[in-house]
């Protein structure tokens, strides 16, 4: 459905997109995951033909995207990172205005009502954007972007600075839109969100796609199968050395009485380690074992934490 | 001095804007100055104008009037065709037009005073003298007629008589032939320039500085409100003095020695310094109210143009109506302008003139202080509501 090939965008000396490749299929919720400044928004703006780019091709619905591809734009809904609504118009009028830019017929009224319900703005129809709280404002911003029921919806960090309640509403709404048949591109630097809703994910950093796949596929790509954390007092260097030699253990750290072990997936990892500690008469407190998260994936692929 | 330093940083960042406004208004000042030397509005000697008389009457009286006017002006031949006349007036080939209607003499002799339609070039003031001459001629003819002269005799008397010229002495007290020196005329416009530059520039700086998050942060900081105001005013003062210094370079550059040698120079400087203080105070007040970038120019224009007009910055104070002149007493620029006239027209001051000069200074200082205080009250209220 969307095909991006070898996209290069430079701002002077800075390379924002470095031969970026993406393929998004119909019906997906596609997550673009990357830290701030990794090129997510730039990629979106190039995709929408807002930005000039130096190299590469963008096709949407099988056709090249250009500034006057008005027939393509009709089927795209966009929710920008910055709230873009008119301060002088009420919630209802804003939604109606943006709907009118896409839809000309009588269906408009119904669509507007649906969008208001969708965003949970029924009680705020007559209010001006300036009076809305941050979360409500974001919801209005989203409503304006999706009101015309487009085939493709692009959401650029729609949940930045949003309270948890609004965030849940937004996320479930996005899944609902997807169920109704829209393909969705979702950019974020919150892993939990991406993990929660996206059917496929691309990890981006320095303008490059580092990995693409479902959450499971991504997790399988990395060595970490399990992370074990143990509160243990007074571990000495010999024991630590012994633990390092354990099968499947490939990373160990011991800080402030907390031992963190990362292991590739295998059975009975935890049991073997606990037995070892008991043999050595080392007392330990709480013990956690966790399956790998996207954070681990990210950490391993990019060598840095996702959160800044 | 964090507030002060913050203010100066933002000022530096807005320097291109400041430079732009300075260029705009200095250009206006210089051009206005050049135009004023052309302007004959207050000269005794009416110059000879290019005028036209359309004589549809062709009577003794109408011809007499033409001849009489020809004594003072260049009479231009023109066809009695509105389009041609308009064209010539538009391009200043004709500056004044009298149209004498067909039965003018008959009506006039019958004792009906039908006024003569005259058309002047809009915006030029010299036509007024021709009005006077037409009046003089026609009134004199009437008097002589009722005095028993025939029309022919009367006309002859008027067109051929030499006419006594009045003996007028100029007691020149300024050393500039009864006019203000050129730099004093420049100082007359200076308030508009100073007011405009400071209001525009400081409004933009204040807008940037007053963005609500910055202000809230300041409110939470350990710097007291009084300290903040003080530092802010200090920032204003730095900008104001810079602009004041720059503007006072103008007369020096344009008129050099004659300006520097004027013994009144310190007074001129001080007078314009007080205008700068008032400009600052007004800019501060506007900065409190104008919270949107797109409204700055409308508000600033009303204040600057409005005050400049009513206080005789553009138009000589003599020309302003009586009522508006009274009202202008309640504006600081009025006192600046009357001081400026005092300086421009008098090479030496008597004691009472010194008194009125100092009164003018004092009142300007009071105005500046009053405006500052009003602004501070508003600032205080605003802080309370927005914090």
């Amino acid at each position: 459905m969307i095909h991006i090939e070898n996209l290069v965008k430079r701002y002077g000396d800075l390379v924002a997109l470095d031969h970026l490749n993406l393929d998004i299929k119909e019906g997906e919720i596609f997550g673009l995951l990357g830290p701030n400044g990794s090129g997510k928004t730039t990629a979106i703006n190039c995709l929408l033909a807002l930005l000039k780019y130096d190299k590469g091709t963008v096709t949407i619905f099988g056709r090249p995207m250009t500034p006057d591809s008005y027939d393509l734009k009709k089927d795209i809904g966009i929710v920008m990172q910055n709230v873009a609504v008119f301060d002088q118009m009420s919630v209802m009028e804003n939604i109606d205005y943006f709907c009118g830019l896409y839809v000309k017929d009588k269906e408009k009224r119904r669509l507007v009502e649906e969008a208001i319900t969708f965003a949970g703005l029924e009680n705020y129809k007559k209010m001006r954007p300036k009076k809305l709280s941050g979360g409500l404002l974001r919801r209005l911003n989203i409503a304006c972007g999706i009101v015309h029921k487009p085939r493709l919806i692009i959401l650029d960090e729609p949940t930045v600075a949003v309270d948890p309640q609004s965030r849940n509403k937004i996320l479930s709404g996005i899944m609902e839109l997807n169920r109704q048949g829209s393909t969705i591109i979702y950019t974020s630097h919150y892993m939990e969100e991406v993990e929660q809703i996206c059917s496929r994910i691309a990890i981006i950093d320095h303008g490059q796609v580092l990995a693409t796949g479902t959450t499971e596929e991504l997790k399988k790509m990395i060595k970490t199968g399990e992370t074990i954390t143990i509160e243990a007092i007074s571990l000495a260097e010999p024991e630590l050395a012994a633990l390092r030699e354990f099968p499947h253990v490939f990373d160990l750290s011991y800080q402030e009485q907390v031992l963190t072990l990362r292991l590739s997936s295998a059975k009975h990892n935890l049991v073997r380690i606990l037995n070892f500690l008991q043999e050595k008469n080392i007392s330990f407190g709480q013990v956690f074992s966790a399956l790998p998260t996207l954070n681990d994936v990210f950490l391993e692929i990019t060598g840095k934490e996702l959160r800044d | 001095m964090t507030v002060f330093r913050g203010f100066m940083t933002i000022t530096r960042r807005n320097l291109p804007i400041a430079v732009m406004y300075i260029i705009i208004f200095v250009a206006i000042a210089i051009m206005a100055q050049q135009s004023r030397t052309e302007d004959e509005i207050s000269d005794f000697q009416a110059n000879s104008l290019d005028i036209a008389v359309i004589d549809r009457d062709q009577s003794t009286l109408s011809k007499g009037l033409s001849d009489y006017l020809a004594k003072y002006h260049n009479l231009t031949e023109t066809p009695d065709d509105p389009a041609a006349i308009q064209d010539r007036m538009f391009y200043r080939d004709i500056q004044y037009l009298v149209t004498i209607p067909a039965d003018f003499e008959k009506v006039y002799l019958a004792g009906q005073y039908k006024k003569l339609p005259v058309t002047k070039i809009p915006g030029s003031s010299s036509g007024f003298y021709v009005d006077q001459q037409v009046n003089t001629f026609l009134n004199a003819i009437r008097t002589m007629s009722s005095g028993g002269f025939s029309l022919e005799e009367a006309v002859k008397e008027m067109t051929e008589g030499t006419g006594d010229t009045a003996e007028i002495t100029m007691a020149d007290k300024s050393g500039h032939g009864g006019s203000m020196p050129d730099y004093a005329i420049l100082y007359q416009f200076l308030p508009y320039v100073s007011l405009s530059i400071l209001c525009y520039v400081l409004c933009y700086i204040t807008l940037a500085f007053n963005n609500i998050d910055v202000r809230r942060r300041l409110l939470c900081s350990s710097v007291s409100g009084r300290q903040q105001n003080f530092q802010l005013l200090l920032g204003y003062l730095v900008v104001g003095i810079a602009v004041w210094g720059l503007l006072n370079l103008l007369p020096v550059i344009l008129y050099g020695r004659s300006c520097l040698n004027d013994p009144h120079l310190p007074y001129y400087l001080f007078n314009s310094f007080l205008v700068m203080l008032n400009s600052l105070a007004l800019a501060f007040l506007l900065g409190v109210f104008v919270t949107r970038q797109d409204l700055v120019s409308a508000v600033v224009n009303v204040v600057t143009l409005g005050m400049a007009f009513t206080c005789g910055v553009f138009v000589d104070m003599d020309i302003l109506g009586k009522g508006i002149k009274k009202a202008a007493h309640f504006l600081p620029l009025y006192w600046y302008e009357s001081n400026n006239r005092l300086l421009g027209f008098n090479a030496e001051f008597s004691r009472s003139q010194y008194r009125s000069l100092y009164t003018g200074f004092g009142i300007q200082i009071l105005f500046a202080a009053a405006i500052f205080c009003v602004a501070l009250v508003f600032v205080k209220n605003k802080r309370r509501t927005e914090a």
Partner: protein, 380 residues
Amino acid sequence: MLHLFKYRFIQVTRDYANIFWTLLFPIILGTLFYFSFGSSGLAGSGETPWDMVRVAVIEEDGTSVQAQAFRTFLNEMDGDAIEITDITSEGKALRALKEEQILGIYYVKDTPSLTVSKNGIQETILTSLLETYLQNASIIEKIAINHPENLEAALSSMEDYQEMTQDTSLGGKTLDPNVHYFFALIAYACLSGAFLGLQSSNDSQANLSPLGARRSVTPTNKLVLILIDFITLFIVHLICILILNLYIAKVLGISLGDRPGVLLLVNLMGCMIGVSLGIVLGCIARFSINIKTGFVVALTLFPSFLAGLMFGNMKHIIELYCPVINRINPAAVLSDAFYCISVYNDSQLLIRSLLTLAAMSLLFIIAAFYRIRRERYDSI
């Protein structure tokens, strides 16, 4: 389409502060003009309720008939045009003159004379008083010699001084002598539409505002969006300008000519050039909105200054020395167009002015379209 108009209209008109100032600032200035001199005409036209000019009268030699006649004449004028102070010694009078307690000294003698200390309107009044006296004296003298029997009649006729001129447009209507200030003001107000235009083009460009970006990705053709913006602002601005016209003509009572249709047309072109100027300035990329506002101030205030907004005779001077500026300065062309309606009554000049304005507006709009059409941006 209607939908887009409707919302654009709502959006502009609900910005009360903006509309308020757009409408109000020329009205306030117009009112100040009116009170400064509009109501009374320039002082020189003799219609102003003047302060009397304070003078001193020094009798150098009051014995001759001529001197006595002059003294009588002055006494008659006392309380009318002049106010005679009780200063009688020359020394005191000169000092008073210097301190501007009086503005002139009349010397009563065989040939009366006048001393003033500067050039000014009031001094001109004193001078013309003296000249009138001399003229009349010589007339009376002649009558006394040739027709002494009619002296009485002549004197009474002389007292009945008549203003014999009437400022008139070529079309035959009477004219306010300061009408050019109001023309320049309307021209300035028209150009100020540029502020509206600037804001609008700022809103519609992706690289300038989020809203611009938002609107750039919709299937509605961008040219349509711009055109709608332009037309909406143009209509709103036109309404403001028409209210200003009404205010000047009906409330202040300053005649703007008697051809409302043509007046409307001129206003129309004025609004067009104002708004389109703003739009094209807004499209010049790379400058911040504050810098662009500065450009708009420069390009509205400066032309208006050259067209005589601040100094009434500025346009006249330019016409004498560099007429080409008056041909291309939109404010000057606009005020020419107003003159054509009310002063010159000339359709040829009017048509040329209107065509100039139309051509300039068209140029601006095309330039703006061309800039905005370039829809991909280097950076956002």
